[in-house]
Symmetry: C2
Subunit: 328 residues, 2 copies
């Protein structure tokens, strides 16, 4: 066994709802092995979350054998400081100046890298997913929040303070809806999962019949983006209107991204993207209406291929980029 | 003289209003020599514009001696195809599939490069202007139209079809003002020179006294962005409102750019930027209100230092990048 090069990297995707851990072959080309998923349970406190995360990592390491693991790539909600491995602040997790990278390294006895979760998503899709072969890729994650990442010539564009790719706070209405960030018209205030639910409740409140109310037994607080999409699929006009508006708002943001970066591909993932063509088809149609022809012909707008594993694969890819040179 | 390395590059900035030509020292560090300016007179037809441009280039070559000139860098309004040197379409100049680069090369007997004018502006400011030392720079030109460029690690980000940096068609209101491009809410439809004039006329039409009308002898068609800025400086509330709204709209776009690219610097130039602090101060204030702290601390928002020469210097820089390696 001695001197043999490790063949696996552990990828870790830390979300506000779920923790996901899997092992990814260094050579790429194959899907990750046995992605484990557990609820994050952020309310239990950072130490408990870390304990459970470390347990999951140890199980993944055991899957392939410790000697075969080169290290661990972590993806976490930002903002974070890659150089020091510290998560500066994550409202969803309640972490503040949390030295996540070194805590995991110490607990697991392996080298660790840390990057932003949406960057990891985008890097994963570039490496093994829907963004394969793209020289200029934009990734967008539509979930509890909206995140984004930019990969140019195989490198994540981190920006001057490591905070680039903040797609969720692109404003598409400078006098629009107030966003929790303090600004107005950010797409996160319209098209995140919770924002879609809020807009659906508003649409019902404006009057008219909707099957949405009966789908949640009258408790409008139970409406989710997924339920809105199902109601739209069932022909509910209120829900359909919300989905169309969501597509239009996202299309404006995607058009801005395409005009600015002229990418080969835009990959859209996250829970809300599970609506699939119901969201993507009107989105593409609206982008085509707005964007210049040359930009559009150069760019495909596609759904994530890696789904829930994109973050795990991308986090492992970031580790490999740092320790073993560029994947592919 | 023989075997001596040429010491100069001719930079050419082709605008809808003016042609500018100057010689720039290959070693950089010094301002361009004798920038010539003439009216473009696009209406005279492409051949006449080319004739006058070639005459200006020959005069500039004569300034420093033909043997001392390495070549010519052209900056022209896009969209254009850098590889073939063809200007695809410029509504302002009436050019269509115009093989500008080769026509100039043939007429002048020197090697020629061609790039987009706003890219040249940004590259010039990165090389010798307000963007010096920046690793991630966004340039914005506010004039008859609104253009933009992105320079990352000393390279212009051209994108998949050479059309990146289209800042003017960033929408900041998805249901907003119709832009001639067909989309809605593009900042060019609010904050270009002509759009500012239109909004000022609308503001007067909405009622109330304004010195704007008397400044143009009652002929509202004569109102320009410059006159609006002067009226605002003189305390006219309508003009002041237009300038403030312009700053707010541009601030939304700049915030979007900063969130997305997390640049070290944003350099703003073009005729409208001559309003200086009257525009930049409220713009910076509004950006600071909207953008995340870490992004803001990393980024300075500054006015062009090279002014009217930025395009000439940048076009020469693009030539030097192509033929002599990266400047600086």
């Amino acid at each position: 066994m001695k001197g043999r090069r490790p063949a696996w990297v552990v990828g870790v995707d830390i979300g506000g709802t779920n923790l996901r851990v899997g092992t990814v072959p260094i050579e790429g080309g194959a899907p990750p092995v046995a992605v484990r998923r557990r609820s994050t349970r952020a309310a239990s406190g950072s130490d408990r979350v870390l304990d459970r995360l470390v347990t999951m990592i140890r199980e993944s390491v055991a899957d392939v054998g410790r000697d075969n693991v080169a290290g661990i790539g972590l993806g976490a909600p930002g903002p974070l400081d890659r150089a020091s491995g510290v998560v500066t602040e994550t409202p969803n997790l309640g972490w503040r100046d949390y030295p996540l990278r070194d805590l995991v390294a110490e607990a697991c006895g392996l080298p660790v890298t840390l990057d932003n979760d949406a960057n990891c998503f985008t890097y994963g899709e570039w490496w093994m997913g829907a963004g394969r072969g793209s020289r200029r890729l934009v990734g967008i994650t539509l979930g509890t929040g909206i995140g984004g990442g930019i990969v140019i010539d195989g490198e994540i564009h981190h920006g001057a303070s490591g905070a680039a790719g903040e797609v969720g706070h692109m404003s598409i209405d400078f006098r629009g809806r107030r966003c929790p960030c303090g600004a107005r018209g950010c797409i996160e205030a319209y098209a995140s999962g919770p924002a879609i639910a809020v807009r659906a409740v508003e649409a019902i409140a404006d009057g008219g019949d909707s099957i949405l109310a009966s789908m949640v037994g009258g408790d409008l607080g139970e409406i989710t983006a997924e339920i809105v999409c199902r109601a739209a699929a069932a022909g509910d006009p209120h829900a359909d209107g919300v989905v169309r508006d969501t597509a239009r708002i996202l299309a404006t943001a995607v058009t801005n991204l395409i005009h600015l970066l002229n990418p080969d591909a835009v990959v859209i993932g996250g829970g809300v993207a599970n609506a699939g063509d119901r969201l993507l088809r009107p989105l593409r149609r609206e982008v085509r209406r707005r964007v210049f022809g040359a930009h559009m012909r150069a760019c495909r707008i596609v759904q994530s291929e890696l789904g829930d594993s994109a973050g795990v694969i991308g986090a492992a890819g970031v580790f490999m980029r740092a320790h073993h040179g560029r994947p592919r």
